[in-house]
Amino acid sequence: MTRILIPSGALGLGWDAEALERGIAAKPDLIAIDGGSTDSGPSYLGRGVSKYARSSTKAEWAVLIEAARRADCPLIVGTAGTCGAGDAVDWLVDITREVLSESLQTAKIAILKSDQPAEHVVNALEAGQITPLTPAPEIDHDLIRSCTNIVALAGIEQVNAAIETGADIIIAGRTTDTAIIAAMPIEHGVDPGLAWHAAKIGECGALCATNPQSGVLQIDFDDDAFVLTPLADGANATPHTVSAHMLYENSDPYLLHEPGGTLDVTNAGYEALDKKSVRVTGSEWKPAKSYTVKLEAARVVGYQTILLAMLRDPEYVKNANVWARDIEDRCTKKTIKRTTASEDEFSIEVRLIGQDATLGALETREASPVEIGALGIVTAKTAELAAEIGKLLNPYLLHHPLTAEEEQPTFAFPFSPAEIDRGAIYEFCLNHVMHLGDPMAAFKLEVVDA
């Protein structure tokens, strides 16, 4: 029997305090929480930073450190600092030291790092140890070397190595969302199919139940089943809410690829134990022939400066598309004339908010809004060039007329300065797996006393 307490879908999202108390009183074997996601885009991985506020992370982490102490069990966070890159792990280790020191406590901390030096990945590519997933960007040595961060997603092997150090607190770099929950039960002899399935359902906390914002979820494993229980008042798991969670952020609702194999829930059964809890059986684990870990990486693809102007004049709202395309064309020509930049070193877009800014070419509807936001987006190969072109674009967005005859118009600028420098723009550039003979070969585990 293994009991895991999941306070919330992510560190930084909060939880129902009363439900967490119930979870602590039930004496879990592990408190596990996810710290990250690719969902907010490549910039966090590219820069190795967290998307959540430090203050919020620190406040919640302090509560969980205290919760684990009272429950007398280890505490693990996976994908620390949103992206799980080394700098983000160090950021959470710093916060942990601060929390411990301010509360006059000490703890043994295991730190699992998932960073991949570019040269290791280049060598693995050379050795035929990198396999593309679908769809995968084209890669070569130069692209790999241009990445600012490359991480591998740890599975249960690496997480269990960290748990086995006997640490009070385990801070892991990039892991699969599920590995931090699946690892301990599998080590305790639970069927891997059940453990991975429970982890997938439970990784978002109470999102698999009614009252999803309450966060706190308890999972109990025995030999042939697992039971999910959301712990907040009014939060209930039903066979429908639980099975429907396999849809969430999964491209395939039956199969989930993990390091070392695939979870298959086609034959899983979901049974209501009572109004609150669901018992799940029948999930299967299909081991893979080769042990692989997925890679994630980000690199800089340019620099941006943006501007926002608001159109309220009905004539301009009606003809915004003509106006915007004309500005793009004129400003592009002016940039080539006034700067040393060639056409392939920059792009200028005037995106019309209120018209098709969300869907672009996929938009199927037309309607006439009261106003339109004209979002100027300059992308260039250097930050200086982006800023310079932003200044060339500014007068057009302020005064460009639809016709030469009319009196010079002026549009509404909400900000001064109008140009907003966004800095480096990153892209995800790997969707590949790396084959490993030894699961620990690509990961680093360190234990420190704090």
């Binding site: 099975s243 429907a244 849809l247 395939d252 609702p253 994630e296 199927t364 995800f428 969707n431």
Partner: protein, 100 residues
């Protein structure tokens, strides 16, 4: 022909990792599910979303009264051409499709 949003209970779209978007069409009755299952044209959906038909994955799930469609992202999440970091707005486009 009715729009999908008038037959289904809810249409949701979300990233499934940086390279895929998944769209879940939830129905509140078996009847509505069968209507969506039979009336939602896969090929027209691929065209609407701007992806080749052979890359689209579709799952008709009577056990949940859900039709699930997954597509490789038309633009990889967060690239300069991507407009919707979380893949959230594709749901509206699909919800407005006419179904047979």
């Amino acid at each position: 022909m009715p729009e999908l949003r008038n037959v289904a209970q809810k249409v949701r779209s979300k990233n499934a990792g940086p390279f895929w978007i998944t769209i879940d069409v939830f129905c509140d009755t078996q009847e509505a599910f069968e209507r969506v299952r039979d009336g939602l044209n896969t090929s027209a959906t691929a065209t609407l979303l701007g992806v080749p038909l052979q890359t689209l994955k579709r799952f008709d799930m009577p056990e949940l009264n859900v039709v699930k469609i997954s597509i490789p992202r038309p633009e990889v999440q967060g690239t300069i051409r991507d407009r919707d970091m979380h893949g959230a707005a594709i749901a509206s486009l699909v919800a407005e499709m006419e179904i047979a």
